[in-house]
Symmetry: C2
Subunit: 156 residues, 2 copies
DNA sequence: ACGTCAGTTGCAAAGATTCTCAACTGGTAA
DNA sequence: TTACCAGTTGAGAATCTTTGCAACTGACGT
C-alpha cells in the first residue's frame, strides 16, 4: 500500500500527543498580557476534551476564581481566536463553542444532525489555497474551512 | 493559452451578469414556502449591492410592509444561508452582514486590513472536499471556506 | 373555489455577545 | 522594588439573535 492520503484525522491523536503548547510564552511574545483570568481560561481550554461554549467556560472558571466575569470570557475567546490559538464553531443558531487549536492547524467536518466535529487536514487543499491567494495578490494569514455534512446513508 | 485555471474570480462579474437568479422557484423546489415576508426580504437582497445586516434589512422591509417582524428577518436569513442562497459575514464582533450568493457557490478571501471581500471558486478544492468527506463517511450538504489574508508586500 | 394542515409569522421574552467606563494590574524602566 | 501607564477587568447596560406560542396562511387535494 503506497498511497499518499490526501487527509488524515487529527482529532484522534488529540489524547496521544498530549503536548500542551506553551500558550503563555506564545501570547507574551505577541505582546499580550498574561493576566490571572486569562491564565485560568487558557488552562480550562487546554485541559478539556470537549467543545464548551462561553457560559460553560465561565462556570468552570468561577470555580477557580469567582471574580471572573462573563465579559472577560468572551473577550478572551475573541483574543485567542484572533491569535489562532482556538477555533470557534457555530451550529444552527446555538451559542458558539470553542476548542483549542492544538498546535497544528486542521479543518472541520461538522455533522449537521448531531453537531459532532471531525477534524482533518489536507495538505493538498492548503497548497491550493496558497496558490489562489497568491494569484489574487494576497498572503494568507489564516483560513477557515468547514464542511457541513450528514452521514452517508447506505442504500438500505 | 490552454491553461485550466484552478480558480476564477466571481465577484467582479457581479454587475456584469445582472441575472437575478429565480430564488422563488429554487426555494419552492426545495420545499420552502414562498410567503409575503420572504418574497420581500429576498427582493431586498437581490436588489442591493451592499452587505446589510439584519436590522438594515428589517428597516428596508417594513417600508414595504410594516407588519414584518425582526424575528422573521433573522429566521429568513438563517433559512437562506442554509439553502446556500446567501452568505453571512461576521467582522470583528459586529452584527452579521449578508449578501446574496448570486446563484453559483463561491468562497471568500477576506482582506484582514480593509475587510474587502474577493469571491472565488475552485473546482479542484471542491472536489477534494468531496473526497475527504466521503472517506469520513459523510455527504457534504454545504461548506464554508474563508481565506483571511493581507495584500502581498512587494519587496520595496 | 374551498377546506385542510403543516409550515410561518408576530410578539414578547429569553438567551447570547458586545460595549462603556471607572477601577485595577502586568510589564517595563529607573 | 517602586512608580508608572497602557492594557485589562468587572459590572451592568446595550445590542444582537433565537425561541415559545397562539394566530395565520401558503400549497395541495377535492
Amino acid at each position: 500500500m503506497q498511497l499518499t492520503s490526501i487527509w488524515r484525522i487529527v482529532g484522534v491523536m488529540k489524547h496521544a500527543l498530549n503536548q500542551k503548547p506553551d500558550y503563555e510564552k506564545e501570547l507574551r511574545k505577541a505582546g499580550v498580557r498574561i493576566t490571572r483570568p486569562r491564565r485560568i481560561i487558557i488552562d480550562i481550554l487546554t485541559s478539556t476534551e470537549d467543545h464548551p461554549d462561553a457560559m460553560k467556560i465561565f462556570h468552570r472558571a468561577i470555580e477557580i476564581d469567582d471574580s471572573i466575569s462573563l465579559s472577560t470570557v468572551y473577550r478572551t475567546m475573541n483574543l485567542l481566536e484572533e491569535m489562532g490559538a482556538i477555533h470557534r464553531h457555530a451550529f444552527n443558531g446555538g451559542p458558539s463553542r470553542f476548542e483549542q487549536a492544538h498546535g497544528e492547524h486542521h479543518d472541520h467536518l461538522i455533522d449537521i444532525d448531531t453537531g459532532a466535529v471531525v477534524e482533518f487536514k489536507s495538505d493538498k487543499i492548503e497548497k491550493l489555497q496558497e496558490e489562489i491567494a497568491k494569484s489574487l495578490g494576497y498572503d494568507i494569514v489564516h483560513h477557515r474551512l468547514e464542511l457541513y455534512g450528514r452521514k452517508t446513508r447506505h442504500s438500505s
